[in-house]
Point group: C5
Chain length 358, copies 5
């Protein structure tokens, strides 16, 4: 229940004051700066927020990326320099749903980056999907991106910038923002595929050998799906909003690309919904399999009991110790009883056959 409860970790501090974030480790965050236009490319890792300020007046595109959000003062300095609203800084530090907000001078974007955690133990309460909040501020000549974990989903992007491959170096920061959103959404498909594989395994298992262990697995899968859904649904609305914005920060050419990301988002959502529907069917199928097995077990019990109980009674009957039991004295008594027993068995067999129990 890691994800959903995290949703509740919003600070109860006075609003629009930056929370101290004291529970985060005091490790130094990593600040990297990439400054480029069609001809130039400059990449550096800086120690102090102040080092970023020189790029503010330059016409080139500046991408300031901050990994690790433990030191609130860096955020405050950047915010002061670039004129960022305190609510935005607060949102970067707390858990938000994916959204895009237009603050006239800049656009604030929140995304959920999802990772598939292969090592996660397949027990109840242990999700296989990990997430990181990616916040972006898109200005006229800069992008700031903030995330908690230092992961490589933007690395191919950096490579493209370095090698000047594709149109990315020729375009403004809005195209870079698009590329970053695209990278995040494309990674959802990887998650979908992993879930799809788990699904297929479950499908096979449910029909072939429906064991009790399947139950928590289905439950976990459903929970992961719900989490995925909560991360992707609002994104759809957000991208659609960005696509329809009047803001001069997003060019018409980029909007065509946004339409493409929008389509991908809907595709992810549809796949999630299909998975959800199918996981409901899967559970029903599993429960029916259980019922079928129970039926079979009870049938075996009934057949055995129903055949032997009358026989045992007959045997008990002639095991009684009455002095005057004429059958016991007759030499034909024993074979007669044996024949009677066989007849009982035969009658039972015919009965079960008719019932279709074999």
């Amino acid at each position: 229940m890691d994800q959903s409860s995290k949703g509740a970790k919003v600070s109860e501090l006075p609003s629009s004051t930056l929370p101290p974030a004291s529970d985060k480790q005091a490790e130094k965050p990593k600040i990297t700066i990439i400054d480029y236009d069609e001809q130039h490319y400059h990449e550096a890792e800086v120690k102090e927020a102040a080092e970023c300020f020189v790029f503010k007046e330059k016409p080139t595109v500046t991408w300031i990326n901050i990994d690790g959000l433990r030191q609130v003062d860096i955020l405050e300095k950047l915010g002061a320099c670039y004129g960022i609203h305190p609510l935005v800084l607060e949102d970067i530090l707390s858990d938000q749903r994916p959204k895009i907000e237009d603050y006239d001078d800049y656009i604030f974007i929140v995304l959920k980056m999802l990772y598939y955690n292969e090592e996660g133990d397949e027990e109840l309460g242990d999700s296989k999907i990990d997430f990181d909040q990616v916040s972006m501020i898109l200005g006229p000549n800069f992008i700031m991106s903030f995330k908690e974990k230092e992961v490589d989903v933007f690395n191919p992007l950096r490579d493209r910038l370095r090698t000047a491959k594709g149109r990315i170096r020729k375009q403004g920061p809005d195209y870079l923002a698009y590329s970053m959103i695209d990278a995040v959404v494309d990674h959802y498909f990887v998650i979908m595929e992993k879930l799809g594989d788990r699904f297929e395994d479950l499908e096979d298992a449910v029909v072939a050998h429906p064991e009790p262990g399947i139950l928590p697995t289905i439950y976990n899968l459903k929970r992961d799906m719900l989490f995925l859904r909560k991360s992707v649904w609002p994104l759809r609305e957000a991208i659609s909003k960005m696509q329809r914005t009047d803001s001069p920060l997003v060019s018409e050419a980029t909007k065509i690309y946004l339409r493409d990301v929008y389509d991908h988002t809907i595709q992810v959502i549809e796949n999630i919904e299909t998975f959800r529907d199918m996981s409901a069917s899967l559970l029903e199928t599993y429960l029916s399999s259980l019922s079928n097995k129970l039926n079979e077990v009870i049938k075996v019990l009934t057949i055995i009991s129903t055949i032997f109980i009358p026989l045992t009674f007959l045997a008990g009957l002639y095991g009684m110790n009455f002095r005057y039991m004429p059958e016991l004295e007759s030499p034909l008594g024993y074979p007669a009883v044996l024949i009677l027993m066989m007849m009982v068995v035969a009658i039972m067999m015919v009965y079960f056959k008719r019932k279709g129990w074999f």
Copy 2:
């Protein structure tokens, strides 16, 4: 069923006449006044409604808070002085859904404050969530707030006002209204977290040891969720309405902050919906666990019965008292029967093995 039935306690008295509220205890309500602007701060507890009237003409922001709604005349006096519509006064006294209504001269706001009641016994019919209706009237230079219980959710706000911390003293009553709504909504996250914890406990219990006692707990959780939902859903619409209002009572600067509360409300709603989906899954998982256990029990019964019933029959067969039973006379009879019995057991074992019952 405390909450839902309270929803039905609307008076059947002639409409737009204040109900006497005779069933409420005749304790004195507590009236506190906070009057402030950027330089001044005045806080007092008054005995009579009339003491509030002097603040009406002052340009400073006045916050009149009334805890306990037993004395209707206080409301009537305030209403007459500030020109409040009788329907508003009636709404303050009866149970309402969260809403925001624009009466031109003032804005009427109804919220549900929720408390988590730790002591509540985890039995059916005993909810852990308690609530209080908070009604607010936002005028050009005043806020009135009404609630039944004397609780401290607005205390941090008062502290901020006293210490002039943050922007709260520099802004008008609309910012104060925002801060109060924000305080209420932020407290929902606390409730969410408590529910999340109960949820996690249940998840563990359902798979590890699915006892019958879990059933009313799940039911209670679901009911709490439904109640929570009923309290939060309409709020979303209300805040959105306040955000889009043309009323001069709400400034543009405050509307940006309202967008933030709106986001939080949606986040709460999404979490509730996720909990609801998961509690449905949880129940299904619990029921499946039950079926699994039942299956196992029946399997044990079937295995034992199926092995011993034929053996018992054999024993009974040779316990018969027929005079002429050749097997009984043979010295090999007893060992032969023992071997036959062992063979029956062996065959059964193989059969069960094949069925996968071990």
Copy 3:
């Protein structure tokens, strides 16, 4: 199935011709007239529809109430005098969903009055909720109301009119119409409370002693809920339409009051939806309780059987009559078998303990 099938009792006669209503009893309907303005008040029971016509030209507000719709000619006469569309007259006589229709010269309103029938037997097919269709025609200086049963839901209203209490005598017929709608909607809360009580009883019963008799009770409750819902849902839309109407027949002052009724209607709807969700949970809880009980019963059976079946086999084994059974001759045979039996019991006990069956 009283309610739903009544929905199908619409005449198949040529449309816009008044159906003869021959199946209704030929009792005389009761016509009462209340004519008032701020100063005057006149109340009378009349025998003939024609007696109403004199009030048509008067500026005072006239309320014509007709209880019992057996004599179609009264309707036809009134309709002809006041210029009512034949479709309206037809609608008054047949079962309609709640609606508000604007016919320029007058507004036609249909409501469902609901009564709670305490005596109703709590068996399947016997609803506890009774209803009556209340039709109203709101004109510039008159209101006509039509209902089948002579009940007292409008009595408090008449008292208010007589005693000139509240603002009712000062306002036009639209305020009277509002008061009548309000009286009907307020009565829904009484029904809700009764349902809430039945609900609480059920909740207690389901967990404490889940008997089969609960089943039809839950089913009945659900059906009543569905009926309630069908009666209230369209009302919401209708009141909203009346609130937004351009018709000069509804004043702006009255529209503020209509907003209040609208809120109440939504509150009723939300309560119904909550009840519906909870009744689904209740049924699930009941079914799980059943499963739990079944589990327990089968567990007892399995424990007893599993312990005694092997013992009985052992007893049977040494009840065999073979001549050569060395154990039988030994003086230690009997105690040895007894000890063996005790060991079997002990092993079983340990096994069940481990399985958690005690």
Copy 4:
């Protein structure tokens, strides 16, 4: 599965070419013409489509009704004469959802006429609801209606036309169209009533004697409901569209009447939805009844087994043939065992009493 699969019988032929409809019987279709205005009335059955053409230029209202759609050439001739779009002709011949399409010169209307088939065997796969597609083309001075079966749902209409009863002869073809739609919708109420009766029978059966035979009956009822729903839902939208049309073909006076049909359609839809909800409840109730019965059966089994198994063991114990069993020799042995057995029975009884199994 007659209905749903019919939905798939749309021709795969080149679009906008009339399908040959070769699978329909080559019987002669029946063409009847009714031509009327307020003074005149003319009714005839004609053999050739060409006989209809003379009415085209007449100012009187002409109603051309065609029963049986086997001869495509009649349609083609009529279409050519009256200037009907080929797509309309194609739609008349294939299965369509209810709709209303405005082709400027005429309005094309498709309805589903439903019949209740009493003789239908209540077995799975055998629906009790039969249907016929009624297509109508409403022009400035004519109506054409096309249906497959020669049924009498329009007979009362013809009678009204003949006898000049009501306003039907005074109005244009749009009023006739309204009357035809009204006749079709009114007949839905008859179907609803029949379904309501089946429903009541089921309700009684489910609680009184829940037999397996109920299962396919519920399933059939649900399927009929789904079919009904599919036929009525789109009609709502269609009538609403006709009501809001700008076309001069539909007069304002008729639109008031359409509002009435619209209300009826919604009433039918609401009843269907209620039935659907209740049939879900009914199935749940049935399944719970089954569980209850199963519980009871297993309880009987458990009580009998649990009492007698220990007794049988005791009897078996003293049936053993050990030479040295001191109890057997004692004259008190037998009565002691009998008393022991009675004690076992008593203890068991107390135990079951406590469990509440009696």
Copy 5:
């Protein structure tokens, strides 16, 4: 799980760069060109993309069809010549949801062609529905169509073009586009019919002989339905968008035909939804059938056990070896016990009769 996981196969390559599609077989794609107007018709299969370029400037309608998308360079050449946006080319190569996008100079259309695969094994995980993505680019005087498989769904269209049958040769490329969409949608009805047949078989099987093998079949059917739904739902929106477009590429005359396809799409959707509802009912019916069978089995077990267990006890009782058992000595003992046993059986029979177990 072939389909859904394919949805995740979107490349993670830099966006707007054509993916190399290396996993597709390097077979030569097949390019066919049909060039026509009302008088002329020319059809050819070409080897190189460049051969298509000559048609670009011709006023005649050119239809370029490419089967097999293994060679990306053909696409790139065509795209460069006709000025196609790189995103469109990327979309053609990757899996997309059905959509229609307006790029001013051309309209980009994506459809899902579905095939019914008769040979598919009816086991879990083996869908019977196969699909192919059909992408179309509709320009002022050309249509390009791209698909993976070389199938014949457009063959009747080609025949109509060749023989100049119907209006197809007289119309522009938009009518051809409509005809292609129509061909695809019409083929959905064939799929629906196949599913309908499978459904009917299942319905019969569920009631007549509910075997465990039915379970995966129902599951498969549901999954196919979900897949079908995912393919058709977005199409509805897309066609509606094309119908309402302002683009000069789609004429008003063609839009009337699009309305027809739109209706067909809705019809398919409604059938799918009905199937979905019915498959839920089917599963419930199946599970109830199972419960019924289980009930019956357990009843047999209970009847047999309940009758014989007491008898066996009696037999065991008089099988005890106590020296002093007076009954054993009496000559009436044996017949008395036999009579007692018969009485027990009779009492049991009456009891079961009353319970209604026979």
